[in-house]
């Protein structure tokens, strides 16, 4: 597999603009939607507030239920109406089921027992604290009609045109500038021609300068200048060659194609998941750890489709397909809602490759130092595709050690050494370097 590099400076600005535009439009549309929905449904469902119901549903029910899809529990769209129509059960039955399903089953209720058996005798958690109003809200939410997310396409289109528009505007500016220069050049030529004409008319000899040596000949004749230029060229080329060689093995911006298109932007950015929720070993271990698939499945057992913003390249179908890849890897059968046992470990391409001879410990920096992940890994929450943000060179490490103050507060370990060292250096705050963070053996063993 080949590494794919992208020139960061070029793309990042454009991407960021895209992001901002996309966010804005999507927000407006979403707001409109919510207004529209609340307005329309408040007329229909008298007793419950579906907006409240949605938040209650997401908090309490979404782990096992989905509106349109059978998961651990049954699909719940129009559950009240369906129960009333098919089984003649009213809201009171539903209330007692929600508050204490086990009791209802025990009481010998026939439908309760039927549904209990249907779902592998998995008891439903009792929600005794839900008030009548809460249940009404939730049921109002479940009673909403399914809305096909047509707007997404519009958003995508809008985002794309705006994004391309910004690209074009740059070109227009450039084009305008070029035109300006061309016009200026034209004007100069015209002026010169006119002046020449005047000179001709007045009989002035304008070719008198031809007796002077051409510039390059004069340059060649001046040995000092040649020498200086040669030295300059040599130094310049040495500088560039050195610069090039120093880049060998530095993979800043390395952005390989991963087996599953995992978007940090969606997870860490849009959904605001803490980095250490998935990369939990960063707290205690030298490695941050690539999350095992069971960590993914904690959420993705119930999140089986993508409902966020999409682009042409990354459509909903695309993202849903990636979730299916995860299911295949974890051996999860979405239809049966259980693990098949046939898993396929994911072979991620490692992006941050520290050489073997350098020892780096995440917990030292994350837990002890309290350094933000973004300090080294860059704006991960904005990365649709993860790339290497920092150069990961020794100079880069050392520089940070020189500048970063050690977090010594409330740490019993540092109490004595901080007191002694701050007296020695006459400073209150100590950098990692002053603590000995520049010694070879601290990282190389």
């Amino acid at each position: 597999m080949k590494k794919s590099y992208q020139s960061l400076e070029d793309n990042s600005t454009i991407n960021m603009k895209q992001v901002i535009y996309r966010k804005l439009t999507s927000k407006i549309i979403r707001l409109g939607f919510i207004v529209l929905l609340t307005f329309s449904t408040s007329l229909k469902a008298q007793e419950g507030d579906p907006a409240k119901g949605k938040s209650l549903f997401n908090t309490n029910c979404a782990a096992c239920h989905n509106l349109d899809k059978q998961m651990t529990g049954p699909a719940l769209r129009n559950v009240e109406a369906r129960l009333a129509d098919d089984h003649g059960l009213d809201r009171e039955w539903l209330k007692s089921w929600i508050r204490n399903s086990a009791g209802l089953i025990k009481s010998g209720d026939s439908y309760a027992n039927q549904i209990f058996a249907e779902f592998n005798n998995t008891p439903m958690t009792a929600f005794a604290t839900l008030s009548d109003q809460d249940i009404a809200d939730i049921l109002a939410y479940t009673a909403q009609e399914k809305v096909e997310p047509k707007v997404d396409v519009a958003t995508t289109g809008g985002g794309a045109t705006q994004a391309s528009g910004s690209g074009i505007s740059n070109e227009i500016i450039l084009g305008a500038l070029a035109l300006l220069f061309a016009l200026l050049a034209m004007a100069l030529i015209l002026v010169r021609q006119t002046l020449n004409k005047f000179a001709e008319a007045k009989g002035v000899d304008v070719t008198g300068g031809e007796t002077r040596l051409p510039l390059w000949k004069a340059f060649v004749k001046n040995q000092f200048l040649v020498l200086v230029t040669a030295i300059f060229l040599l130094l310049a080329s040495a500088y560039f060659v050195y610069g090039y060689l120093m880049q060998v093995g530095v993979d800043q911006g390395y952005q390989p194609v991963q087996p599953i298109h995992f978007s940090h932007k969606i997870h860490a950015g849009d959904n605001g998941i803490d980095c250490k929720y998935c990369h939990s070993s960063a707290r205690v271990s030298k490695t941050s750890g690539i999350p095992s698939l069971n960590v993914c499945m904690n959420c993705h057992k119930s999140i089986y489709e993508y409902n966020g913003e999409t682009t042409v390249e990354h459509s909903k179908e695309f993202y849903d397909g990636e979730i299916q890849k995860l299911y295949a890897a974890a051996g999860w059968s979405d239809a049966d809602q259980k693990y098949t046992g046939e898993s396929q470990p994911v072979k991620w391409v490692r992006i941050h490759n520290l050489p073997d001879f350098a020892y780096f410990n995440h917990s030292q920096h994350v837990s002890v130092g309290g350094i933000q992940c973004q300090t080294c890994h860059g704006p991960v929450e904005e990365m649709e595709v993860m790339y290497q943000h920092a150069p990961l060179t020794m100079g880069w490490c050392i520089n940070c050690h020189r500048e970063t103050e050690v977090k010594v507060q409330d740490n019993e370990y540092y109490a004595k050494i901080h007191e002694q060292l701050s007296k020695k250096y006459g400073v209150e705050k100590l950098t990692a370097a002053q603590m000995g963070g520049l010694e070879c053996g601290k990282c190389h063993y």
């Binding site: 993979d251 070993s281 069971n294 073997d356 050494i417 000995g436």
Partner: protein, 1059 residues
């Protein structure tokens, strides 16, 4: 004048007209060279589209393409778990307590695992009584990753499944049962309550079952003597920390004597404490580790040892024998007796003579003394082998009486002197199964090889001593399709339970007495004051009322034990003790005596395919990769055996043919061993393996072939043979030549009575023509750095407590990914050990004598002769061990000469080595006064030239991921385990707490069970190492050169006070 003779090569040439001769004259080669075949075929040459130029173009292009492709960085894949086990956090080590019980080594240990793979064996602090991890136990982790392990059950050479194995063996066992022939279980000593119960169940099911326990190196005589006296098959326990006078007659109790594990107790009593330390007198033939540590060592032949023991008995207990001992020896025995008498119950006598009489006499002496160090109640159970039963088995097999033999943990084809008889007997059996890790000498001949798991993949339990238990638990899922012996027994018994459940059941019913199994498993050890004896098939047990385990004598008294014991002692003393002494006194011998011993590194040879152990230098001879016949200098001269140093600095030795009772071992390399008793030769077990190991590991000769009647002493004839053997000996300069500042040594008397300046003087240098101590800042060329802030690590090594066991060397290997370089490279002094244990002899009777001689040298003439003499160790030299690793000098000579600043100093006192910066000039090694820097002459990993564990994927699993594997052309050295100190610091930072003394450890200090190595932070004024730094015995190695090392040594004190 030249002659006109005509020379001819063949009669044909005499015939003048021969056409053949004429043709031959014209043709240089008789046979045509087939050049035409490839050049003459014009057609194919021309039809070929590749011209020479094209060919060169292709070569050029592919070279360029290859080098261009090399510029591309590799794509590294990262594969996380699908379901991450809860207890595993990548990058964080887990520790499990388990127990090794391979039949030779028994110890409860901690296993360090990383990402689910065991990488290091460490001491279990909770299990001090169950023996600490010696060099072999430390190295045993590598056996798990042995690439030659059997990977599944085999029938002959064909792989079969366990189901097939079960079906076939069950059928055959039932056939054998029906035929009425014996079914024999030939096993190692398991000392396992659960296994005993299983075997009993197996016997109940199959009827004519015999269980024969077999120890490769037999302790049968001691077991017999103990059994005769105490009615139970076992060994008496000794706690040498309680003895002020220790007399050993041929017992290498710091080695493998009676199962080993006595060294930490011994070391405790050796450190001068309030002016007192134990006195240790050793009578022995071979120079053993124990003899090297003794205060007084008397070299004796085994026959003389027997007589000395008889004499000692009469002097202590009473009675009379007439023995014929040289005057000096008789005096030494008398002195020892006097010393024992004055010490009374604080004295202890032990013997390693494989003679029931000798063992009986010793038990009697200790009982008579009421020795506090002697503990017959805490019976040691780790040796159970019965020589007679094994001999009877071989006879039965040959007679065709044995229908089936099932072997586990034994390798009789290698360890039996009459292996040929055994092989013949094996053919007569209807069924032979060998549970084995390898296709070794024995399993190769068995019908079925039942692939056995390594102990790190197995369940198990051990009763090491009465009342002291250990549990074995798997630390990794089985690497291969293996099944342990006990699981197979369960299958044969028709039980569906797993061995794990079986152990749990056994323990819950009969061991734990209500205690928690999980807790016992967590601890790895369990101590109780009652013992379990599982004899009956039902697994019933009874509490032993006669003997009370533990070491609490009061409890024993309460049970009326004392009385009974005294009674028996009286009678036995009257009969067997005196009789045994008389029998001993009558010992005679003809000619040379051969004394077998086991090496610290190789033991009984089970781990012969372990490169760490092969390269481990013997503590005494400093020879690696070999065993050899140790001969005294006098005998060597009379037998015309030589040791020479060749130009490369390597050691060569003569070969000798060794004959015992008609059996000859040919071409045994000879090593002249100072301190070897005249008239004796020594030979180590464990070498000369031929099957189940890599070609490089097939080293040495098999001493077991001469181990007749399981007697470690044999009458022998030694004859010089042709040729010289090449040794890989890592230390050629055997003596100190009076350089007292390397190993500082004094006697207890001087230590107690005189001032420190007398026996541990600080070297003086001249400053402005005035004697100034070298430690004075005035004579220092360097500015001192401020090291008072933060941690400042020091490592203290007590030369008194160090027994030279070498556990630290292997622990260092495992922790720091030290490569194995092989015999040839060791011979070229390219060994890579970061930590070596130097052994020094003295040329006079004592190191003091050496010093005196050096001081008295006057003038060139006497210096030439004097130093010449001092180069050669004496016949019975004093020995000192000195572990030397990088001294982490505060004023390091290596740092100033490095042209690329690859080695530099840290403020924590460690001398850092940045491998990636090193360009391999080796200036640092040249400038190091301690010679502790090691150069990577080759790439030792993934290189077929060095086919050791780092050359295969399996073996590389043992590597410590926190330490880099060095490459070719790089200098390396001890880092003072900076990865461990950094880890301790980080853990404390994360928890936000102050570090306690004892938390800082290095691999060597953690492995040191004798307490000789103490590591810590001297800026913590209350730490143990800070006190040791201020101790009077403290000195620095080569202090006069002013390197100010961070490794400190404690002067060796010998208790030379005669009674």
């Amino acid at each position: 004048m030249s002659s006109n003779k005509k020379y001819w090569k063949s009669v044909e040439e005499l015939n003048e007209n021969s056409s053949i001769v004429e043709t031959l004259k014209q043709n240089e080669f008789v046979e045509e060279i087939p050049t035409d075949e490839f050049l003459g075929d014009k057609a194919s040459l021309e039809s070929s589209s590749t011209t020479r130029r094209d060919f060169l173009k292709y070569v050029g292009f592919s070279t360029a393409a290859a080098s261009l492709a090399a510029c591309e960085g590799p794509v590294i894949k990262s594969i996380p778990y699908v379901v991450q086990p809860e207890e595993i956090i990548p990058g964080v080590a887990n520790y499990y307590a388990t127990t090794i019980a391979d039949g030779y080594d028994f110890a409860s240990v901690l296993v360090k695992t990383r990402e689910g793979r065991p990488i290091k064996i460490e001491n279990n602090a909770l299990a001090a009584v169950n023996g600490s991890a010696n060099a072999r136990v430390n190295a045993s982790v590598l056996g798990l990753y042995d690439s030659l392990r059997v990977q599944g059950p085999l029938k002959g050479d064909a792989a079969i499944t366990w189901n097939e194995f079960d079906a076939q063996t069950n059928q055959k066992l039932n056939e054998v049962k029906a035929s009425g022939k014996q079914i024999v279980l030939l096993t190692q000593t398991f000392a396992s309550p659960s296994t005993s119960a299983l075997i009993a169940e197996f016997a109940a099911k199959f009827g004519n079952v015999k269980h024969v326990q077999y120890d490769a190196v037999s302790e049968s005589a001691a077991l017999d003597a103990y059994q005769a006296k105490y009615g139970e098959r076992g060994l008496a326990n000794y706690d040498f920390s309680k003895a002020s006078t220790i007399v050993s007659i041929g017992a290498d109790f710091l080695g493998d004597w009676q199962g080993g594990g006595f060294d930490s107790g011994y070391a405790k009593g050796r450190v001068p404490n309030h002016g007192k330390m134990s006195r240790h007198i050793q009578f022995e033939s071979n120079m053993s580790l124990t003899g090297a540590n003794a205060d007084k060592r008397v070299p004796l032949t085994p026959t003389q040892q027997k007589q000395a023991l008889a004499k000692l008995y009469t002097l202590l207990v009473g009675g009379s024998v007439s023995v014929d001992l040289p005057e000096a020896v008789a005096q030494a025995v008398a002195n020892a007796a006097a010393q024992i008498k004055s010490a009374g119950a604080n004295a202890v006598v032990v013997t390693g003579l494989q003679d029931v009489n000798a063992q009986t006499v010793v038990l009697e002496i200790n009982s008579h003394l009421k020795s506090k160090a002697y503990d017959p109640k805490t019976t040691i159970k780790t040796r159970q082998g019965n020589d007679k039963a094994v001999a009877a088995l071989v006879a039965d097999m040959k007679a065709g009486k044995v229908g089936a033999i099932i072997m586990s943990g034994v390798n009789p084809m290698y360890t039996l002197p009459n292996a040929a008889d055994f092989a013949e007997g094996l053919k007569q059996t209807d069924l032979s199964i060998a549970f084995s890790l390898k296709k070794d000498e024995t399993s190769a001949l068995a019908q079925y090889i039942a692939a056995a798991p390594h102990y790190l993949e197995s369940w198990g339990d051990v009763e090491m001593k009465k009342g002291y238990y250990g549990l074995t638990q798997p630390t990794i899922r089985p690497l291969f399709d293996t099944r342990q012996f006990q699981e197979a027994l369960l299958k044969w018994n028709g039980s569906a339970t797993t061995y794990h459940d079986y152990i749990k059941q056994t323990w819950n019913t009969s061991v734990l007495g209500g205690a928690s199994f999980s807790q016992a498993l967590h601890d790895g050890v369990f101590t109780t004051n009652h013992s379990v004896v599982v004899e009956t098939p039902e697994g019933a047990h009874h509490e032993d009322k006669t003997f009370v385990g533990g070491i609490i004598e009061d409890v024993a008294e309460g049970l009326g034990l004392k009385k009974e014991e005294e009674g028996t002692v009286e009678t036995t003393t009257a009969t067997s003790g005196a009789a045994a002494a008389r029998a001993l006194a009558g010992a005679t011998s003809q000619g040379m005596e051969l004394v077998f011993y086991s090496k610290t590194g190789m033991g009984d040879g089970q781990q012969a395919n372990n490169p760490w152990l092969q390269e481990f230098p013997d503590p005494i001879s400093r020879v690696s990769w070999d065993n050899y016949l140790t001969v005294s200098k006098a005998d060597a001269e009379s037998l015309n055996l030589k040791n020479v140093h060749v130009a490369t600095g390597a050691l060569d030795g003569s070969y000798a043919d060794v004959t015992v009772n008609g059996t000859t071992l040919k071409n045994v390399p000879v090593l002249i061993q100072p301190g070897q008793a005249k008239g004796t030769v020594g030979l180590a077990f464990g070498y000369g393996r031929t099957e189940g190991l890599k070609e490089e590991m097939k080293t040495g000769v098999n001493a077991f072939t001469l181990y007749q009647d399981f007697n470690t002493v044999q009458n022998v004839t030694v004859a010089a043979a042709a040729g010289m053997h090449e040794f890989a000996c890592i230390q050629l300069h055997n003596t100190l030549m009076g350089r007292g500042d390397i190993v500082k040594e004094t006697t207890l008397e001087i230590f107690n009575t005189k001032d420190k300046s007398h026996w541990n003087a600080i070297p003086m240098v001249s400053l402005n023509h005035e004697e100034t101590p070298v430690t004075s800042p005035d004579v220092d060329l360097w500015d001192e750095f401020d090291r008072s802030i933060g941690h400042h690590f020091n490592l203290s090594i007590d030369l008194n407590a160090c027994t030279g066991c070498g556990a630290c060397v292997i622990a260092c290997h495992a922790e720091n990914n030290v490569p194995v370089v092989g015999k040839e490279e060791v011979r070229r002094s390219r060994d890579m050990h970061w930590l070596r244990i130097d052994r020094y002899y003295s040329s006079e009777d004592s190191f003091e004598g050496d010093n005196e001689k050096k001081d008295n040298i006057a003038g060139l003439g006497s210096s030439l002769t004097g130093f010449g003499e001092m180069e050669h160790p004496a016949d019975n030299p004093q020995v000192a061990f000195q572990p030397v690793m990088c001294q982490h000098c505060n004023h390091a000579p290596c740092e100033t000469v490095c042209p690329v600043a690859a080695t530099s100093h840290g403020r924590q006192g460690q001398n850092h080595m940045a491998y990636n910066r090193c360009v391999g000039t080796r200036y640092c090694a040249n400038n190091c006064p301690y010679k502790v820097r090691r150069f990577n002459w080759f790439l030792y990993n993934g290189n077929d030239e060095f086919d050791y564990h780092m050359n295969d994927d399996l073996g590389r699993m043992v590597l410590n991921p926190d330490v880099v594997v060095r490459s070719r052309g790089v200098m390396e050295k001890c880092s003072m385990c900076i990865q461990m100190t950094q880890k301790t610091v980080l853990d404390a930072k994360r928890d936000g707490r102050v570090i306690k003394d004892g938390e800082f450890q290095t691999a060597c200090s953690a492995a040191c069970s004798s307490g000789a190595m103490v590591f810590g932070d001297i800026n913590d004024k209350d730490s143990k190492v800070a006190h040791l730094k201020a101790d009077n015995r403290m000195y620095h190695l080569l202090e006069h050169i002013g390197t100010k090392p961070n490794v400190i040594y404690q002067t060796k004190v010998r208790n030379t006070t005669e009674a």
